[in-house]
């Protein structure tokens, strides 16, 4: 198995994503702010669902999307110009993480290369690797995914004998950068994908969370026959219900359904019915507007504080996103952020070091800040603490030094992003064209990383 977020690692290696204890101000985990959920209304609906339909909703079901939930999904997808199609196009998931693994297992064959927009959501890379696939960075320029270069990359990889059939991307308010691919680029990307025989995987958890309500035409809406779309209720409703969906052309949906049946037997009918009932009664407008406004405010507070603390002419660079959960900082002097995460933890603030979003440890001079779940009155304090830690970057914490120290950590130590086997497998040590060769196969392995459970996992993989 490939480690992702929750492996036991020291604070340096693993930003404690979902912990919020003590005096720690967390800018790490991408959690929605559930203070906005109408809990009283929800509890009444859940009670009603249990009383009237508990014997059905709590029973096993089949790996099909509940028809009752189709209108809720159709509504969400239409807001970004997408088309849910019918129940035949939809596959229920327990969130997009399951969807990613399902499509890695169900639509690709082990050994195949899957192109990924980078920096990438680590859960995607981990899911693909767990399915035996080889993530490879898709070419990018200043505007994001570069369709023309993509054509050449695909040709080159195939000439090398690789099978390349899928491209994974998160085109709107991306995790971790917050960037959005222009609509013009989307059309170009889809054209090249068609020409090159690439299936596009569009992961879109944040598309409806534009701060001013603006949306962007989804890739799925432009070319529904060549896009597999991952949708989720985690960010527009709540992640604890573990409910999402895949929208795919029917033949692919059938294959995905067979895969999800093996993975989970059936989705939660209860969860689907709860969401269907919520939508039927309240629609999405009110909650979406509330989330958008909340995140707009939080992002503004964080960006303003960053500007105050770090200035705009210093070594740290970032852009204010127009939506989503994240701010992405890059150090122009190539300071390694893994070490800074330790300093930040000592100050009582957490973030995710950017290396976690590189396919092979690149992006080590970046970091992700999540503003979505930070308490309003703690953001300025958190950023002040962060600034104390980041200013230390001016001293000697350079990426190269950090890489050198990590090189001595020993291959096979627990890695959180890359499969452990990467350390001794040339074939898997794929770096995209922009990969930083200085941060190679030892990605994600902190110098101080203990030899935890994942070492054993690595051994298993190698033995397999």
């Amino acid at each position: 198995m490939t480690a992702m977020w929750t492996d036991t690692q020291p604070a340096a290696g693993m930003p404690r994503l979902f912990e919020r204890g003590e005096d720690l101000i967390s800018f790490a985990g991408g959690l929605p702010d559930l203070d906005l959920l109408p809990l009283k209304e929800l509890s009444e609906q859940l009670a009603r669902l249990t009383r009237l339909g508990g014997r059905i909703a709590l029973q096993y079901s089949t790996p099909h999307l509940a028809k009752a939930l189709v209108p809720a999904i159709t509504d969400l997808m239409a807001r970004e110009g997408g088309s849910a199609g019918g129940a035949g196009n939809l596959v229920p998931t327990a969130g997009s993480q399951m969807g990613l693994l399902a499509l890695g297992l169900g639509l690709a064959t082990p050994g195949e290369t899957v192109l990924c927009q980078t920096p990438a959501y680590p859960g995607a890379a981990a899911a693909f690797r767990t399915a035996g696939l080889r993530p490879y960075g898709a070419p990018e320029d200043a505007e994001g995914l570069d369709p023309q270069a993509l054509r050449a990359t695909v040709a080159r990889l195939r000439a090398e004998g690789r099978q390349v059939r899928m491209l994974y991307c998160n085109p709107t308010f991306q995790n971790p950068t917050g960037a959005t691919l222009s609509v013009e680029r989307r059309h170009q990307l889809l054209d090249v994908a068609r020409e090159s025989g690439l299936l596009i995987v569009e992961d879109n958890p944040y598309g409806l969370l534009g701060f001013d309500g603006r949306t962007f035409q989804t890739l799925q809406g432009i070319d529904p026959e060549n896009v597999v779309y991952l949708g989720t209720f985690s960010k527009v409703f709540a992640p604890g219900l573990r409910c999402g969906w895949i929208a795919a052309p029917e033949p692919l949906a059938g294959r995905l359904r067979r895969t999800t049946e093996v993975m989970a037997l059936s989705p939660s009918a209860f969860t689907q019915a709860a969401l269907a009932a919520f939508h039927a009664r309240s629609g999405w407008d009110t909650l979406l507007d509330a989330y958008r406004e909340r995140y707009r405010e939080r992002c503004g507070l964080m960006a303003d504080a960053l500007q105050r603390e770090l200035g705009t002419d210093g070594p740290w660079r970032w852009r204010r996103p127009d939506g989503g959960f994240y701010l992405w900082l890059r150090h122009t002097g190539r300071a390694g952020t893994r070490r800074l995460a330790v300093a930040a933890a000592e100050q009582g603030v957490s973030f995710v070091p950017g290396g976690h979003f590189g396919l092979d440890g690149e992006c080590a001079d970046t970091l992700r800040l999540c503003f979505s779940n930070a308490p309003r009155d703690r953001i300025a304090e958190g950023v002040s603490r962060l600034a104390v830690a980041l200013r230390d970057a001016e001293t000697d914490a350079k990426v190269t030094a950090e890489t050198d120290s990590r090189a001595g950590a020993g291959a096979g130590a627990g890695s959180y992003l890359s499969p452990d086997s990467d350390a001794d497998s040339d074939s898997d040590a794929d770096s995209g064209p922009d990969a930083d060769s200085g941060t190679g196969a030892d990605s994600g392995t902190g110098a101080d990383s203990g030899t935890g459970a994942s070492t054993g996992t690595g051994a298993e993989r190698r033995a397999a």
């Binding site: 009603r48 669902l49 209108p71």
Partner: protein, 91 residues
Amino acid sequence: MNQPQFDQLVEEICAVRVTDSETPLVDLGVDSLHTVALVMAVEDRFGIELDPDALADLSLTSSAGLLRVVREQLPGRAPAPSGSTSAPSGE
């Protein structure tokens, strides 16, 4: 609410065409979970609480059968309109 109005509600919530009010919903293509969603919406719309036991076999419920159960629960319990059966139904 009369039967045609209720049929319309069923059509709206279940995304089906109610060709005959007495046809079991399952035969109209409404699955059991969708029937649950319908009954939840009906409770909400009428401000009533239905007896789950009266709906024991949801898959056999028809639009007319469901409306009869609803009328049983309505305050003041208006007599059923002529031409329809007045007995509560567990359809």
